[in-house]
Symmetry: C2
Subunit: 490 residues, 2 copies
C-alpha cells in the first residue's frame, strides 16, 4: 500500500515532515533530537559534499580533522563564543559505566573527568588552540583548512535537517596575516557558497551581512546567503564569518611579519550543513514529493516497463538493455525497474515521491513504434520520443530542468520580495504572504528586537549590494540610509 502526502497548501510543516520520511531521506532515531539520515537522503548529501569539496580544493583549501571534544576551559576563552554556545551543549563528565549491586548499568563515579569535555558545537576553540603551535611566522600563513564533521547543539525543538541536535556539516577555519586578506577570504567563500547553491542546487540566494544581534558568537562580521522557501519563510543557507583577531587573542596566536614585528593572526570560519537538505526540499518539491535538480539527483533516470506477461517483459527488457547502454554512455545515472511485485502505477508514484528527474516508460506499443514515453518530474508533462534520439533528448531534458528549476525559484522569489514604507504595510505583507520584505531600519538592536517580538520577522541581512537611500525606519521613524531585508525565518 502506498502512502500519499498531505497537501502543502493545507499544512506545510506536516507536508515537509511526511515528505522527509516517505521519500526515504531521514527519520527520527531513538535519541531525542537526533535523526537517522537514510541511504537516499545520504546519497544526496554525498553529492553536495563531493561538489563542495571539489570547489574548496580548487580554491586552495585542504581538509584535516580535529577532535570532537573541547575541554571546558578552551570553550571559556572567547567571551562571546562561550555565551553563544555553552547553553546548548552536550557535556561529557565520565568515561566509564559499571554495573551496580542490582546489576543496573550506571555511571561509574570513580571515572569522573577532572575537566568536563564539550561535544563540539563548532570547532573554533580547539582549532585555534592548535593553530598556536602551527603559526610563528608570516611564512606559515595563510592556513586554509576545512573539516567535514558532525557537531552537536542541544536543541529543544528540532525539525528534520533544519534543526537537529547532531548535524553534519563542513567548517572552514582560515588564518591570515592581514585583516584585508581575511575579509577577502570570507567573501570568496560567500561567493563559492552562493554559486554552488544556485548552480548545483538551483536555489537562488541573496548575499548579505548579519546585524549585530544575528552575528556568529565571536565574529566581527557574519556574511550570509539567505534563500526563500515556498511558504514565504527565509532560510539561512550558509554563513562565512570574519572573526577579526578574536580567537587569535583568546588563544594567543601571533606571528612575526616580514619586518620582524609581532601581530595577532586574522581569522575566518564558514560552514554549510545538512540544513541545505531542508532548503532543497522547500524550494522545489510539490504534493507528489521531492523534485530534485538533476545535478543533485542520485538517480537521474528511471525506466519502467509496461507489460502483461513474462513474454512481453522479456521483449521489453531486451530493448531496454540497449537503451540503458546509450544513456549510461552519457554519464547519466539510470535504473531499469523491472520488479515484478509492483505495478507501473505504484512505481510512477514512488519515483515521483523520490524526485527522480526523468521517467521513461515503455510498453508493447512503444516497442512497436520505436518510441518511449518520457515524463519530466517538475512539469509532469508527457512526451513521446523516438528511441533513436532518446539519450540526447534525456541529456537536454536534464539541462533544461536544472535551468528551469532555478528560474522558477527566482520568479517565486521576485514575486515574494516587496519594498514597504510603513509598519502597517510591513505587517500586512507578513500576514498575507510573507517573503522577503525590504524596509528601512534605524540600525538599533532595540528596534530590531521589538519588530521581531511583535511580528516574528527578523532582519535576515543587509544586502551586500544594497544602495544608499534616504528613508525613515518603519518602526521608530528615525532616519535610515539603506534598506534591510526582513523575513520570518526557519
Amino acid at each position: 500500500m502506498q502512502n500519499y502526502l498531505s497537501k502543502k497548501e493545507e499544512d506545510y510543516s506536516k507536508w515537509y515532515n511526511e515528505l522527509v520520511v516517505k521519500a526515504g531521506l531521514a527519520e527520527n532515531s531513538g535519541v531525542k533530537g537526533c535523526m537517522v539520515v537514510k541511504p537516499y537522503g545520504y546519497a544526496i548529501w554525498e553529492k553536495i559534499q563531493a561538489e563542495l569539496d571539489k570547489r574548496f580544493k580548487d580554491t586552495g583549501h585542504v581538509n584535516a580533522y580535529f577532535p570532537i571534544f573541547i575541554p571546558k576551559s578552551h570553550m571559556n576563552k572567547e567571551a562571546k563564543h562561550v555565551d553563544g554556545f555553552a547553553k546548548e551543549c552536550a557535556v561529557v563528565t565520565h568515561y566509564r559505566l559499571k554495573n551496580d549491586e542490582n546489576g543496573n548499568l550506571v555511571v561509574d563515579e570513580n571515572a569522573k573527568l577532572e575537566e568536563e569535555l564539550i561535544v563540539r558545537p563548532t570547532s573554533e576553540t580547539i582549532i585555534w588552540d592548535t593553530y598556536r603551535k602551527w603559526i610563528q611566522s608570516y611564512r606559515d600563513l595563510p592556513i586554509l583548512i576545512n573539516q567535514w564533521a558532525n557537531v552537536v547543539r542541544w536543541e529543544m525543538r528540532t525539525r528534520f535537517f533544519l534543526r537537529t541536535t547532531e548535524f553534519l556539516w563542513q567548517e572552514g577555519h582560515t588564518a591570515h596575516a592581514t585583516r584585508e586578506e581575511a575579509i577577502e577570504e570570507a567573501k570568496t567563500i560567500l561567493d563559492l557558497y552562493s554559486d554552488f547553491v544556485q548552480d548545483f542546487m538551483a536555489i537562488p540566494v541573496i548575499k548579505g551581512i548579519k546585524t549585530d544581534s544575528e552575528r556568529f558568537a565571536g565574529a566581527d562580521e557574519t556574511f550570509c546567503i539567505e534563500a526563500l522557501m515556498q511558504d514565504g519563510k527565509a532560510l539561512q543557507a550558509g554563513t562565512s564569518h570574519f572573526l577579526g583577531q578574536n580567537f587569535a587573542k583568546a588563544f594567543d596566536v601571533k606571528f612575526s611579519d616580514e619586518k620582524g614585528d609581532t601581530n595577532f593572526v586574522w581569522a575566518t570560519s564558514w560552514g554549510v550543513s545538512t540544513r541545505l537538505m531542508g532548503a532543497l526540499i522547500m524550494t522545489h518539491s510539490d504534493n507528489k514529493g521531492l523534485v530534485l535538480p538533476p545535478k543533485l539527483a542520485p538517480l537521474q533516470v528511471v525506466i519502467i516497463p509496461i507489460y502483461r506477461d513474462a513474454k512481453e517483459l522479456k521483449e521489453i527488457s531486451n530493448r531496454v538493455e540497449e537503451i540503458k547502454k546509450s544513456i549510461d554512455a552519457k554519464g547519466i545515472s539510470v535504473r531499469y525497474d523491472d520488479n515484478d511485485n509492483k505495478k507501473p502505477g505504484w512505481k510512477f508514484n514512488e519515483y515521483e515521491l523520490k524526485g527522480v528527474p526523468v521517467r521513461i516508460s515503455i510498453g508493447m506499443k512503444e516497442l512497436k513504434e520505436n518510441t518511449v514515453e518520457l515524463v519530466r518530474r517538475d512539469t509532469l508533462v508527457k512526451e513521446v520520443i523516438s528511441q533513436d534520439i532518446l539519450s540526447e533528448k534525456i541529456e537536454i531534458t536534464l539541462e533544461d530542468m536544472q535551468f528551469d528549476l532555478l528560474k522558477k525559484a527566482e520568479e517565486f522569489r521576485a514575486k515574494n520580495t516587496v519594498e514597504v514604507n510603513s509598519y502597517e504595510e510591513f505587517k500586512e505583507v507578513l500576514k498575507q504572504k510573507g517573503g522577503f520584505i525590504s524596509a528601512h531600519w534605524d540600525g538599533t538592536s532595540h528596534t530590531e528586537e521589538a519588530i521581531k517580538k511583535e511580528t516574528q520577522a527578523s532582519i535576515r541581512c543587509i544586502l551586500l549590494d544594497s544602495k544608499q537611500e534616504e528613508g525613515k525606519c518603519i518602526y521608530s521613524g528615525e532616519p535610515s540610509n539603506r534598506r534591510v531585508i526582513f523575513a520570518k525565518a526557519y
Copy 2:
C-alpha cells in the same frame, strides 16, 4: 632548520612517533588521547576512503548516517556487547553549562539528562534499534549499509593512529534472511579488505578467524586480516563479524519469510579505521621518513629546480612548465617546488620525509642535455632520464614501485613467519625477532591466556586456509589438529 628522525633500529616506537609528527600526518591535541589529523595525513586518509567507498558501492552497499549518541539502555541490551564497551566509553550526562556565582563555567545541574548518552564506541545498538522499524518482510532484506563516522573508546594508553580515544572509521552493518547469506557477506568483506590493503596500500595480510577471547563483543565469529610490521609485531588491519542473531534478538528484529514464518534477522558488521595509517607507516617507511605506495600518495611526483640565480631559475621553470603538462596529462599528481626560500637539499629531505614516490631534479646541465635526474623514494637510486620519455618513465616507475613495495613486504613477512614445535623454540623466536609464529594450540582459552601472560604473544588468528595437521599444543602438550598464528601485537 630541518629535523632528522631517530633511527628505527634504535627505538622503533620513538621513530614512529617522530615520523608521524614530522611528516605532517598527525599531532597530539589539547584533549587527552585525541589527535589532530593534519592535512597531509588526512589527504592520505581521503585516498583510502575514496577507494574503499568505491569498492563498497561496487558490491551493492550504500552509505547512511546514524546518531553519535547511544542511550544507555540501548547499550545494555546485548549482554556481551555491553561488557566489551561499557568500561571505556565517554558518557554525556548534562546538556548545558552555566556561570556560577564566581563567574566560573560549570555544569548546570538543572540540565541533567534523564538517561545518560554514550558517545558511540561502535553503532550496532543504535543501528539495530533502527533496523527494527525497517524490516518486516524478507522483501526488506538484505540491508547493506555502511557508515563513515567518528567513534570514541576511552583508551588509557594511546598512540597515533593505532590507539586513540577518538578515531575515524567506516562501519558496515548488514541484515540478512539467512545465516549462510550473512556468513557469505562477512567473508566477501574480508576479501574486499584484503584485496584493498594488498593492491592499494601494498600491505600483505593473512586472513583468519579470531579465537573466542579475541572475538568482537557480540559476534558469533570474527574474521580478520592481520599484517606484520617492520618490528616483528602484528597489527590487526580490519575485522568482519558474523553477528548471528544476537543483535536481532536484543532489539527484537524479526521478518516474515516467503512462507509467512517469522524469524530473527541475521547480521554482520565490519570496519577499518585510521589504524590503517599506522599499518601503512610501519610497513614501508625508513629512517628518512615515509614511503608511500604510489596509489596512496596525495602527491606522486615533485620537481625541484637546481639553480644559482633568477635567470637560471627562469630558464628551468619555462622548461618545467612543459614537462609538468606531460605528467599532468597522464593523471599523475605533480608539484613544481620553486620556493626560493629553501635550498634543494632541504627540499630533497622534506619530500623524502613525506614519502613522495618520485623526485625529479633539473639544473642547467640537465637543461642543456635534455635530461632530468629521477629518484625513486623507496630505493633512492638516481637515474638520468631523457625529457622526451619522462612521463612514460614516471608512469612505469610508479607502477614498479607499487609492485615492489608489496613484494618487499611479502618477503619480509615470509622471512619472519616460522613454524615452531616447542614452547622453548616459541619463546626463543619471540625474543630474537618476533614475527608470525605458527604453532599447535590445544584450543582452550586457559592456554591462550597463559601464553599471553608469559610472553605477551596472542593468537592473531586461525588461518582461513589452515590445513588439518596432527600435533601437540606447545604449552600444554594436549593434542591439536591445526596450527594457529601467534604474535605480539599492536
